[in-house]
Symmetry: C2
Subunit: 200 residues, 2 copies
Amino acid sequence: MLPAADLMEAFNAASARDPRERRPRRHDPGRRDRLIDAALTVIAERGVAATTHREIARVADVPLGSMTYHFTSLEEVLAAAFTRHAESMARVFDERLSAACDREAAVEAVITLVADDLLGSSGDLVLSVELYVAAARNPALRAVTQAWMARSRTALERHFDATTARELDALIEGLVLHSALSTDPMTPEQIRHAVHRFLR
Amino acid sequence: MLPAADLMEAFNAASARDPRERRPRRHDPGRRDRLIDAALTVIAERGVAATTHREIARVADVPLGSMTYHFTSLEEVLAAAFTRHAESMARVFDERLSAACDREAAVEAVITLVADDLLGSSGDLVLSVELYVAAARNPALRAVTQAWMARSRTALERHFDATTARELDALIEGLVLHSALSTDPMTPEQIRHAVHRFLR
DNA sequence: ACATCATATGTACAATCGTACACATGATGC
DNA sequence: GCATCATGTGTACGATTGTACATATGATGT
């Protein structure tokens, strides 16, 4: 066990440094990327409303000034963060569906997508809803969501006709959102039932 | 045409009163209700993030102090506003479905619900998504959404079995949200097609 | 008539915010 | 080596916020 003095020193160095001493300059390439990730963490945990320069900087453990150096405004941070989130979501979508070789496999891919990927991480779900709200009032973010939706629809069209793809996309959206907001989320079996019913 | 002086006077009286003169006291029963409506207006137009005491007071044309008199906190305002919104939505749901006397009419009711009621007023849609986000971090609001979902499901169960009701509820959610976020919203015909396909 | 008190109004205050900006430092190209 | 400048760091400032609170007024019951 460490002496109390050492604990205090470690504590100060890690999080609550003595404000009188300047923190050592760090060589930190890719800090901008880390800040975007930190922004996503904050948005998921606290919401866009609580996402401030200072909070992101605290999570990323960088001084406040670093935010204004890497981003010209808070809007730019949010745009970068949501763009990364949408890209990440779309990639999962692409991968699942391009791995399916026939229609039956595609149906299974959709079920896995909803039950595992989308409902599995509550953080991603919250991020998506936060994005929807933010997009309602920010044209740049609206473009992000539309690109994302177009991409997921295209992925579905590898296996389904255009009309089915669009309807299925909506069903997925509904199943995920509805399930996530409910006290008793739908089980994978219920998801499977709903998808099969629609595609039967 | 009014003289400029009269215009100025009207302007001052209506919105930008001379701060030196105290505004006349108004007998205003039901002001609390009006404030909740004003809050809903602000949330729909500017978002929860921009919903402040001062902005609501401005929209309702009451002094700031009136907000803190009628509500102990901003959270209470939001809770009251979203509760009213959910109640209003649920009522529409109830009315449409209780008016249907057989299953065929119920299907038509669902289609009307989505295509007309839900997609018709973009304000209500925005309010719903704002509520979802707010509910993600506020237990009181989560209870509001859950009560709302339970009620709409019950309304559907007047005409459909429990499993179908739940799946249909999710589909409705997806169709509305998906359609609203898209550049080209689904047409009533497309909505009809999707619902019929699911319930066929 | 008049006292009471729920309601209405105006203002102050500390906290927090986005952003600007001055200064420090070391990686990099020459 | 060494100058340069991209990057890192600390701090200040005006604006806005939620909330508290002092004061004003008229509807209501007696």
